[in-house]
């Protein structure tokens, strides 16, 4: 089976291939420059980098869509297996674009937040911009990397940039959360590295396209797949390896939470997709995929139920991330795992990708809204939210719209994603996943309405806001939430772009 689809030879460098290099180098240069420059410069550097990054992301997406084939670049002209290739297929292009748009939204939000004359977060804020650019560079490297070792390094860069984002305020509890995150991530990375080495020892290459041709089901492939999957699941916080996520994501400042929950956890998921569908589509059998689906089910059900029981708003949003990560992994039992590609594979594939994108926007908006509510009230106890709906209507509206996408209410992006997963589950005759999708949606509705009913309730006494919250940040949160909804208005046909780089037989059935 040829995973590269229409690629003629791995050494062929497409005409727009240098765009892939720009996508990685631009944020790296920005991060280095903002590290060297002090004072107010990091914010300016970061914000002036973002439009260029978005332009590069759009150019990559346009190039992939126009040519209908994988965009690739062979660094230094050294062809794999000796050299390193960067590749962008349809899914990479979408993820790079999502990251660029979200980084701009988060950057503008953070600029309004950190330029407020609070003064307390001065050091944290200048570090934030360097880390934001570093996270962006790491994400793009993960989305575009063409061999497993480059992807390992990219994932490490991402982790090193993401961990300090958790403890920007330097408080003991966030430091402990960051340390816990780091220890989980270290275990994940070393297991991934061991699996990578086993593959190299067995097949003599780490390039994804070459490996796809060479890997045969057998003890080496199975051991490598198990080790790498376990490592990536620890980083992606799939149940039962989710323990680090809620304190880390809930303790970070709002813009950092939005980056972590919206984008960073998608990177290990993306690597799982690469591993299972591109590197060894033949080695991963249906039983392993069903096991992954079982973990996803546990994540959706347990994450949602625990979210329902939270008393603090930010923790509720963080546990909802645990549940939504579960939906991403439902893609594995439905979109493949067995060599024979089913007609519903493309449906599940598109559903999983849309879930990743719509959750990124919705969750970033919800964390921003939760942060604004916290800032305005000085607390985020859900039981004491009464009246905030009148004080910050735009913020609460953004939270509700984002929540609607998580629930899968039509016509949001979350609805389309979940409907596609549902369709695939029914078409595949695996009705149990359909039950999980629907139950998870109901539970998500439960925790979103729990917050909304409290927020919209009439307060006992007129509430006093600790701090005025600017309209700019509220509207950014709203725009990101609306973006999650607007994804649902895109007709289904253009999403076929996501299948660029997939085997031709996998494109049927969308």
């Amino acid at each position: 089976m040829i995973a590269g689809g229409p690629i003629v030879s791995p050494a062929a460098t497409a005409s727009h291939g240098h765009l892939l290099v720009f996508a990685i180098v631009l944020p790296v240069l920005g991060a280095l420059a903002s590290l060297l420059a002090g004072g107010r410069w990091p914010a300016r550097i970061a914000l002036s980098t973002t439009p260029f990054g978005l332009a590069v992301a759009i150019a990559i997406a346009v190039s992939v869509c126009r040519s209908g084939r994988v965009l690739d670049y062979v660094i230094g002209g050294w062809a794999p297996p000796l050299g390193i290739a960067l590749r962008a297929d349809g899914l990479s292009a979408l993820m790079v674009l999502t990251a660029a748009v979200l980084i701009i939204g988060i950057g503008l939000f953070a600029y309004a937040q950190f330029s407020a004359p609070a003064g307390t977060e001065a050091r944290g804020s200048s570090v934030f911009w360097t880390l934001l650019l570093a996270v962006w560079a790491g994400l793009n490297a993960v989305f575009l990397g063409g061999d497993l070792f480059t992807l390992f390094v990219a994932l490490e860069l991402l982790t090193f940039a993401a961990v300090p984002l958790v403890c920007l305020d330097g408080q003991a509890d966030t430091l402990a959360a960051a340390l816990r995150y780091l220890l989980f991530a270290l275990l994940g990375s070393v297991l991934y590295l061991l699996g990578t080495m086993l593959l190299y020892g067995g097949y003599g290459t780490l390039d994804i396209l070459l490996l796809a041709d060479r890997v045969r089901p057998g003890p080496i492939a199975w051991a490598a797949l198990a080790l790498m999957s376990a490592g990536l699941l620890a980083k992606a916080a799939l149940y039962p390896l989710h323990l680090w996520l809620p304190p880390a994501h809930a303790g970070a400042p709002a813009p950092a939470s939005a980056v972590l929950s919206g984008l960073v956890v998608k990177a290990p998921f993306f690597l799982m997709v690469r591993l299972w569908f591109d590197v060894m589509p033949g080695a991963a059998d249906q039983a392993a995929a069903q096991l992954l689906g079982g973990l996803a089910t546990a994540a959706i059900l347990i994450g949602s139920v625990v979210a329902l029981r939270q008393t603090r708003l930010k923790l509720l949003v963080a546990y909802s991330t645990v549940a939504q990560i579960g939906y991403l992994f439902l893609m594995f039992p439905l979109a493949g795992g067995v060599p024979a590609i089913h007609p519903w594979g493309a449906t599940a594939w598109t559903g999983g990708a849309l879930q990743a994108v719509s959750h990124a926007f919705a969750k970033a908006a919800m964390f921003m809204a939760a942060g604004l509510i916290y800032e305005a009230l000085g607390h985020d106890r859900i039981s004491d939210l009464a009246g905030i709906g009148r004080a910050l209507p735009v913020t609460v509206f953004a939270f509700g719209i984002g929540g609607a996408s998580l629930m899968g209410l039509p016509p949001s992006g979350g609805f389309v994603a979940k409907a596609l997963l549902l369709t695939a589950a029914v078409a595949a005759g695996q009705w149990w996943w359909a039950v999980v999708v629907l139950t998870g949606g109901l539970l998500a509705g439960g925790y979103v309405f729990l917050v909304l009913t409290r927020a919209l309730a009439e307060p006992q006494a007129p509430i006093k806001l600790q701090k005025r919250v600017g309209g700019g940040r509220q509207s950014i949160a709203l725009m990101l939430a609306l973006a999650a909804v607007l994804l649902g208005f895109v007709p289904l046909r253009p999403w076929a772009v996501l299948l660029i780089g997939r085997p031709a037989s996998a494109s049927a059935g969308l």
Partner: protein, 109 residues
């Protein structure tokens, strides 16, 4: 048994010890040490794989050696980051289970 097999087995033992320590020890510093042990095991497996390439006819496979250097740098950087976090946590007065340096084995005086 050939020397590669011995090295491979030693690597496997180190990986097992490190994994055990990482999972069972509640103390963060010990977890970090266990992570380094685990990393050492993985790097030893790298070396074995380079050596097995040599058995296939070309005198030592240089690619795993290039990879192992990168791997060591990454492991070093992550250890440094974790130690920095531990120190900040100790300064901020975090919970002792994760913050206080565990009493290590007494150095032979």
């Amino acid at each position: 048994m050939s020397s590669e097999t011995w090295f491979g087995l030693c690597g496997a033992v180190l990986v097992g010890l490190g994994l055990f320590g990482l999972i069972t020890h509640p103390d963060a510093l010990r977890k970090l040490l266990a992570f380094n042990l685990l990393g050492g095991g993985v790097f030893l497996v790298f070396g074995t794989i380079a050596r097995r390439g040599a058995a296939a006819g070309f005198g030592g496979d240089p690619v795993p050696q290039a990879l192992v250097i990168t791997g060591i740098v990454v492991a070093f950087a992550s250890t440094a980051l974790a130690v920095a976090l531990l120190r900040r946590l100790a300064e901020a007065g975090g919970e002792p289970a994760a913050a206080a340096p565990a009493p290590l084995a007494e150095p032979p005086s």
